[in-house]
Symmetry: none
Subunit: 219 residues, 2 copies
DNA sequence: GCCGGTCTTCACAGGATCTGCACAACTCGG
DNA sequence: CCGAGTTGTGCAGATCCTGTGAAGACCGGC
């Protein structure tokens, strides 16, 4: 199951390198460069973890942390500019689960993200009926038989399986799998949905007219 | 085979009582009372497990943990003075596998050491089908016959064998074996994969298009 | 310096995969 | 039943990725 990480960081260089690294690790990454965007994205994309810079335009990281946590408990990894004990303490107080002081190594950050997420993901093991997805091995079985999927197909399926039965708009799928944000009139998503249906059975993915797609699994 | 435990703890009383107890359990115990000694001993004695106090003279436990792990992955049981969530998290981030807060009972500690070692000894010798890897002797056998591998080939194989069946991205393999971080368009990994396939059989390594490679072993 | 072994890079070929398009089929509210 | 809007489908060109062989760089031993 692919996990979503929201990275909130105004420094473009840091933001992209962090995002790249986390994507390489197999996470779906959303980026926000200021406080308000961060809060909005946190609501829209429901990330499994937030990486949060304390110094931000708009309003600061602590405020973001408070607001995000207010909606829904989510683990937060906080980035502080300096080794500031006070900042760190306040951060932990408002709900950060871990913190890192700049400059930090990308590897270190990735390690902590993994640890935090491992802690969380232990609990969640959704039942997908006769569909089995192994994200580590990148294998998919349906009704006991292994099915070969192309990379994009796999990512798309994982994205859908992430929230079984929930209807995901094309826009969101495009962002999560393709990293775009403009849902231009392309039939790209449809094409891959079609491929998935052909390989895994037409009943697996439900179309919701005017909205998007949802994974159909027995409750 | 007797398993070796390195105990790193500056308090003499605690150190000796832990050592005594573990020796009574049948483990070979090495003692270190400060960071530098710990790192040195870890290199020399190649313990199967490290019991590590966070508070240490020289440099602290986290640093020891990092340095020890940098050389060779080894399970670490961390001892923290207080029930500090942050300390614990950081500990886990740098590679600790379990932690215990003082004051702890010697019996409890011995129990966890047993659990960790059992977990590891199973993990250290995962079932690789007809493939056998001896990391200490740097020898590899397949189907009973010894196969000569070059250093790089061996490291790459070990890296893959570390997590059988898991798909490891090229990026990750490059980092682990070569220490680089830039996945430039080089075919280096491919070349060595090819060599491994030639020597060990084409079926051993699965390539996952667009992602990386995985060791293919029967479940 | 020479030599054998090993590592890295390169260019290319052959696949595998992605994407956008045109058009058919469908859905839904009137 | 109709029409606008939405989705399904087949396909072909473009693109991306991996396998491969060979050439040169590197390295330690002699």
């Amino acid at each position: 199951m692919q996990q979503r990480v929201l990275v909130v960081e105004d420094d473009l260089t840091i933001a992209t390198s962090v995002a790249d690294r986390l994507r390489a690790e197999g996470f779906a990454v959303e980026l926000a460069h200021d406080g308000p965007t961060a809060v909005r994205l946190a609501e829209q994309t429901l990330p499994d973890l937030v990486v949060l810079d304390v110094m931000l335009p708009g309003f600061d990281g602590l405020e973001v942390c408070r607001r995000v946590q207010a909606k829904r408990p989510v683990p937060v990894l906080m980035l502080t500019a300096r080794d500031d004990e006070a900042d760190m303490l306040v951060g932990l107080a408002v709900g950060a689960d871990d913190y890192l002081t700049k400059p930090f190594s990308i590897r270190e950050l990735a390690a902590r993200v993994r640890v935090l997420l491992r802690r969380v993901s232990r609990a969640a093991a959704p039942d997908l009926g006769d569909l089995r997805i192994d994200a580590t091995e990148r294998r998919v079985h349906r009704a006991g038989a292994e099915v070969h999927l192309t990379p994009t197909e796999f990512d798309l399926l994982v994205c859908l399986a992430d929230r079984p039965r929930a209807v995901l708009p094309r826009e969101q799928l495009l962002r999560a799998v393709w990293g775009w944000s403009d849902a231009n009139g392309s039939r790209t998503v449809d094409s891959h949905v079609k491929a998935l249906r052909r390989k895994l059975g037409a009943d697996l993915i439900r179309t919701v007219h005017g909205v998007g797609y949802a994974l159909e699994v027995p409750r």
